[in-house]
Amino acid sequence: MASRHNLGTVISFEFWRTVKKPSFWIATLSFPLMFAVIIGIVYYSSKTSSDSSEKLAQEKFSIEYKDDSDIVLPVVAEKLEAKKTQDKQQAIEDVKSGNVDAFFYYPANLNEAQVEVYGKDSGLFNNGKYSAVAEQMLKTSASATIANPKLIAVTQGSVGSKTTTYKENGEVSAGWLAAVPPLLFLVLFYFTIAMLGNNLLNSTVEEKENRVTEMILTTLNPTVLIVGKLLATFLAGLVQAAVMITPAIIAYFVLGADVINLPDKDILSQLVFDPTAIIIGALLMVGGLMLFTGTLVAIGAVMPTAKEAGQYFGIAIILMFVPFYIIMLILSDPNAMVVQVFTFFPYTAPVTALLRNAFGSLSIIDAAIVISSLIVLGTIIILLAVRLFRYGAMQYDGRLSLKTLTLKKR
């Protein structure tokens, strides 16, 4: 009962002092702020370019053209009030002298030569209108000549393909739509450690840096303190995630999926949720978090200052990041020796196994081995971390030595 009361007190104290720090809000708000700025820029430039396109389309200019390819139809040219000429050199001179705004030359063999476009300079961005109109004249004429909608679709590259693949048991493979939900656990794992790891490390070293350990250890069970710190850090992480995600959700529903480059709502509804992959993903994430958070607490307990502890935290982050360097190998050849090593080596296992699980190359037996080893090792490391905290925290001025640890072991 007292332990539960103390756990609540520790969580509350640690949580509020984390969220009251200006640095927490600077880190938390910088992401949505950056996101809002990018959305603003994308929205503004998209609107501006749309307005400009409409303006350009409405803007008329005088055209002359010479067609040696015999593709451009007079009826298409007439719509644009383009005049046909036979004297290429004179037409270029007319553009130079300003008598005509643009001249297009269509060579006889378009496979070998390019369409030549000459125009009156109207600014870096506006000059693009000449080639756009020249190409449009050609495409419209070619399409009209083919006069077959199917062939036009093929020539314009607007034909798509739909692929269906089957698993060994004959079921339809869901592909990316099934990979996305379990991949979310990888994203969650990665961001949790990357964003909260430093907080956790600082929070553990803090007792030692503030020389408050002796008072704490005579008031509170170190396990309660460490668990309280872990839970408070995760709560602070939830606040951070909520603050970061909220602007994206608002933008998604208010401005639409296109603006923030997210998939359409229909695609989201087509996602395939494979319960086995999701359960394995969740367990891998939990095991990975146990291992990495335990390691961080252990580092914090051994090191005398946050600065020194930070160097070792960097190594943990690198180990976590390493599997991304061989991501193509993980996806294409999961049986490769290096992938197998990364799958079962504890500190590279979470990312590697989460990737393989999402893409369906992690067998249930392999998953069971990785999950159980992560959870068992994570538990051992957390228990060791508590022990290290208890005795390492008394070493105010230096690292905890193994000799010291064996001497102080009640």
Binding site: S3, H5, M215, T218, R410
Partner: protein, 252 residues
């Protein structure tokens, strides 16, 4: 050694070794309920080590150390007030937040802890510093806050490791008044100090540690009589002699 019925703290055949070095060698003594007990010795004589072992921070190499008949556990922290030699508080938090936190850990409700803290701060003339961050306080002010945290919830047992270290005479007086008030409330106090006048004024009994064991143990008058001295300063000089003069300053 026969344990007295009214003993609160009992240390029996306590030995503490760090590697090959024996810091405490077969030490036994008791602290009785309600008494103020002086725990004395030169730097490095093992006073802080003994207290850390008593509070479960160190594992003794041999012997038994109990409070109220059992080994101390953090869950018993509510009845204990410990002012360690190594001072420290959460420096980036406000005074009131830190005091309230420790008050809650000692079993007080949040509001109760806050109210107690505000009253204490008023008593030590720090009422205007309640919302100030700890690292903005002077060393002496931080010590006052730490003493407040120690005596919160009126603990039955107080262990004060050099409580007046770094205090000016005015604040030393204030601090001693607070300790005397706790004593009057019936608290059992272990006072670790180098100030022999404090010992003479406050302590009912004392122990003097030398070479890992007791050089003297009894009431102040018994100790004075044993060494045929009139002041505890003289006793200290007699026991430690050149050792005390040449003892390196620093941690135990």
């Amino acid at each position: 050694m026969t344990k007295a019925a009214d003993s609160v703290i009992s240390i029996e055949n306590f030995t503490m070794k760090f590697g090959d070095k024996t810091v405490i060698d077969d030490l036994s003594f008791e602290v009785k309920k309600g008494e103020t007990f002086g725990f004395l010795g030169s730097n490095g004589s093992g006073k802080t080590t003994t207290m850390r072992a008593l509070l479960g921070i160190y594992q003794p190499s041999a012997g038994s150390l109990t409070i109220n008949g059992k080994a101390f556990e953090p869950e018993d922290g509510k009845m204990l007030g410990y002012l360690p030699e190594e001072r420290g508080l959460y420096k980036k938090e406000s005074v009131i937040d830190v005091m309230t936190y420790f008050g809650q850990l000692k079993g007080l409700g949040k509001n109760e802890a806050k109210e107690w803290s505000l009253n204490y701060l008023k008593r030590v003339k720090l009422e205007d510093k309640a919302k100030t961050k700890v690292d903005k306080l002077s060393g002496g002010q931080q010590q006052k806050v730490q003493l407040g945290v120690t005596i919160m919830n009126d603990p039955d047992v107080l262990i004060l490791d050099e409580p007046t270290k770094g205090f000016d005479p005015v604040n030393r007086r204030l601090l001693m008044d607070i300790i005397e008030a706790q004593r009057a409330k019936g608290a059992t106090i272990i006072l670790i100090t180098h100030d022999m006048s404090e010992v003479e004024r406050l302590c009912d009994r004392l122990i003097l540690l030398k070479d890992g064991n007791k050089a003297a143990y009894g009431t102040v008058s018994e100790v004075l009589k044993k060494f045929k001295k009139t002041t505890m300063d003289d006793v200290f000089l007699h026991v430690y002699g050149e050792d005390a003069a040449t003892q390196q300053e620093g941690e135990e």
